[in-house]
């Protein structure tokens, strides 16, 4: 009986929803059909745009340096041209993380280095934290530009240069490093993504090339497909170098065993953990409790360096 009531309730709520949607054809169906024949017909607002089609000569690719090469565009509808666009991916970031726990939660401290073989200096970077970030701070000549919270539980913390354009003090040029980037959160540590954006010379600066302006030039014609593909390579998250680091990941309510297993599963898929893959898989298949998992992770920590040592250390100390 309760099940019947439930079904009726669902059925009548659907009727109510349908009745609220203005649409002559659908309303007509409602009148014609009995309740048992009621069907929900999705109402499409507007006309769906067809997917852009690729022209024969359209091509978008990355060259060996990671820059964009676009073929298929035409100047003034005639001469075919090749467009080359330098991306903002010529930075070589290395992040060293340390995690401290205290009464207010966890303090994540970062030292960022741009390796000597980079070609651009780091202008802005962000990390994707999960769980509430209570505060963040940056060293002098840098600033926390925003903590973006529009897609919970994701909290995106932006650090960027804060100086006059002409002031190169504490720029993260190739070979330079900077510490003092701090995030505070109740969330416990795990692997998170960092995005680094390099500086492209601006008009008036040495090395400026007006390559991006071509994309909106009135003289250049490109198919919609070509433009769509170009945009994919120049979007905020693709026109950046993405690396893994340690950051706020699990709210205190997430069971420790679940968080530890999740992190090990994520580590298995991360190329930086390739040398430990078999050992991690063995841990995951052993059905261990928190103490057992942490004991196994401690064994991995003994011979780990870099991001592996940072993760294992965090998993042993903070869960």
């Amino acid at each position: 009986m309760p099940q019947t009531i439930k079904l009726l309730a669902v059925r009548y709520s659907l009727v109510a929803v349908v009745a609220l949607i203005p649409g002559p054809s659908l309303m007509a169906q409602n009148h014609k059909q009995s309740e048992s024949e009621l069907r929900i017909v999705p109402r499409v607002l507007g006309t769906k745009q067809p997917e852009p089609t690729r022209s024969q000569n359209d091509s978008v690719r990355l060259d060996d340096a990671g820059n964009l090469v676009v073929e298929g565009a035409r100047r003034g509808g005639g001469e075919a041209i090749t467009i080359a666009i330098t991306r903002r991916v010529h930075v070589r970031p290395i992040v060293n993380s340390s995690v401290l726990s205290g009464p207010g939660g966890f303090t994540y401290e970062y030292k960022v280095r741009n390796a000597p073989n980079a070609k651009q200096w780091i202008q802005i970077f962000w990390l994707d934290a999960f769980g509430p970030v209570s505060s963040a701070r940056a060293p002098e000549y840098w600033r926390v530009y925003n903590i973006e919270r529009s897609k919970p539980p994701l909290e995106r913390v932006f650090f960027g240069r804060d100086a006059l354009d002409s002031d190169s003090t504490r720029r993260l040029v190739p070979g330079a490093s900077q510490d003092g980037f701090v995030v505070q959160s109740q969330a416990r540590p795990g692997l998170v993504r960092f995005f680094f954006v390099g500086h492209k010379p601006l008009p008036g600066e040495a090395g400026y090339i007006p390559d991006e302006a071509v994309l909106e030039s009135p003289e250049i014609e490109m198919s919609d497909w070509l433009r769509q593909e170009v945009n994919k390579y120049l979007s905020m998250e693709t026109n950046a170098v993405v690396i893994t680091g340690i950051g706020p990941k699990y709210s205190p309510s997430v069971p420790a065993v679940q968080a530890l297993r999740n992190e090990l599963l994520e580590a298995v898929r991360n190329p930086a953990f390739q040398s430990d893959r078999d050992a991690i898989n063995a841990l995951l298949h052993a059905e261990l409790d928190r103490t057992g998992l942490q004991s196994g992770i401690q064994n991995l920590l003994v011979r780990a360096t870099g991001i592996r040592a940072e993760l294992y250390s965090a998993l042993v100390r903070h869960y």
Partner: protein, 95 residues
């Protein structure tokens, strides 16, 4: 855009100048030849979408700061990110 302008003012002490901001719901907003302008055409094709804004370099002197503020506040979140023109940034927001 309000957040971007406010942060720019706070960080630099200067007003943020904006060009060719899309209308809220997109659409053509230029007046045509009879009013000294010209009908909507490239390079402002994208501005019809209601998601695009230009920030001119001539009036906004802190260009790197402006880029960072825009990036951190959704100005590069649209397809293609922030484009750099010889005289302005072209911001692309998401709907």
């Amino acid at each position: 855009m309000q957040a971007i302008a406010q942060q720019y003012r706070q960080q630099t002490g200067q007003k943020l100048y904006v060009n060719d901001m899309s209308l809220n719901w997109g659409g053509v907003f230029d007046l045509g030849p009879g009013y000294g302008g010209q009908y909507w055409q490239s390079p402002h094709g994208e501005h019809r979408l209601g998601l695009n804004v230009d920030l001119p370099f001539s009036c906004n002197s802190h260009r790197q700061t402006m880029f960072n503020i825009a990036m951190a506040n959704g100005g590069g979140a649209g397809p293609g990110g922030i484009l750099v023109h010889p005289d302005h940034y072209h911001l692309r927001f998401v709907d």
